[in-house]
């Protein structure tokens, strides 16, 4: 069954057909979320939220456009939400630790959660740059396509991509030199 047909079927209330759409997209979506968040649990949460939001807003989706791009745009925003939530909880945990030093927080450092990133080098990039790199390297997206996911101009997407690639190259060279 083609994707368009599946989407139309979902719009007619066949919820089970959404499972087939998810089966097609959950692995690449999960990879993208993991690259941005660096943590499997958070990535699963972000993916779950993105798929739910996509299902609830299917009526707004333009069938002439790419579903994958649309889903990635939703997922990217959910990943940013996760990062914001993580930062807020970090501030709260820090405050609790300062006021009640006897309390032992389970996870005081947000970077410890991000250390689940596939490569240490990715930690030096901003989440936006990680997203851009992931779309460019894993999905083969052009800056034009990336701009649609990030909701920015293609010129801006090009700048993010350039900066991310430059940073990675510099880090790779530094690592190689120190070896």
């Amino acid at each position: 069954m083609e994707e368009k047909e599946l989407i139309v079927s979902c719009l007619h209330g066949n919820r089970e057909d959404f499972k087939m759409i998810m089966d097609r997209h959950s692995a690449p979506a999960m990879a993208m979320a993991m690259n941005i968040l660096g943590n499997r649990d958070d990535a699963e949460d972000a993916c779950q939220e993105a798929f739910i939001q996509a299902y609830l807003n299917l009526a707004r989706f333009d069938l002439e456009k790419s579903f994958k791009n649309w889903l990635y745009a939703i997922l990217y925003r959910r990943c940013l939400d996760q990062l914001r939530r993580r930062r807020r909880s970090f501030v709260l945990i820090n405050k609790v630790q300062r006021e009640y030093p006897q309390v032992q927080a389970a996870d005081p450092d947000p970077s410890s959660r991000a250390s689940g990133l596939p490569s240490r080098l990715l930690q030096y990039l901003k989440p936006k740059e990680r997203a851009v790199l992931c779309l460019w390297a894993n999905e083969g997206y052009t800056s034009q396509e990336i701009s649609k996911v990030l909701h920015c101009s293609s010129s801006t997407a090009r700048v993010y991509l350039f900066q991310a690639r430059k940073k990675i190259k510099k880090r790779l060279e530094t690592e190689n030199a120190s070896m």
């Binding site: 919820r15 959404f18 499972k19 998810m22 089966d23 959950s26 692995a27 690449p28 999960m30 990879a31 993991m34 690259n35 499997r40 699963e44 993916c47 779950q48 798929f51 739910i52 299902y55 609830l56 596939p118 490569s119 080098l121 990715l122 790199l133 992931c134 460019w136 390297a137 894993n138 083969g140 101009s153 293609s154 010129s155 801006t156 090009r158 700048v159 350039f162 690639r165 430059k166 990675i168 190259k169 790779l172």
Partner: protein, 158 residues
């Protein structure tokens, strides 16, 4: 090379995204020397999680399905809430109407000072000529004491 250095300098020192985008389009993306400073697609890919090295596939469907079912069950409650919201709007409109009416009654007796005294108002009147049934008539102006009311009395001349 000096040109590349110059463009790099301009790129770093003029942090405008549009300007940077222009430089990238015009030079950096076309120049082999500048491209050599960037990580290649394969090098980046090796650092990233991809579908192939994701590990166990996530089983998101059961969780998503449970949430979707619960959201659909909650929908009738949602309409009740929207009804409540409508009543809130009605209550707010009624309250606004009451406040408006109260203000009207309170301000009804109020006259701004600019209106002036009775004498000032009377001095504005000037009747040059009056006719009643096509005949010249007499006019009398009355102003009761402590009142702004002016009565114009017109009488047929006999």
């Amino acid at each position: 090379m000096p040109r590349c250095r110059m463009i790099d300098f301009l790129y770093v020192n003029l942090p405008l995204k549009m300007w940077r985008g222009f430089l990238l389009r015009r030079h950096i993306e076309r120049c082999a020397f500048c491209q050599a400073k960037l990580a290649g697609r394969e090098a980046v890919k090796s650092l990233m999680v991809s579908e192939n090295n994701l590990g166990p596939r996530p089983s998101l469907w059961p969780r998503v399905k449970t949430r979707l079912v619960s959201l659909e069950e909650d929908r009738p409650k949602g309409t009740a809430l929207s009804g409540q919201k409508r009543w809130r709007w009605v209550a707010a409109a009624v309250a606004l109407l009451i406040v408006g009416l109260a203000s009207f009654w309170l301000l009804k007796g109020f006259r701004p000072e600019k209106m002036g005294t009775g004498e000032e108002v009377a001095s504005r009147f000037r009747i040059n000529y009056l006719k009643v049934e096509d005949k010249p008539a007499q006019a009398y102006l009355y102003q009761p004491s402590e009142s702004n009311l002016i009565i114009i009395w017109v009488e047929k001349s006999t």
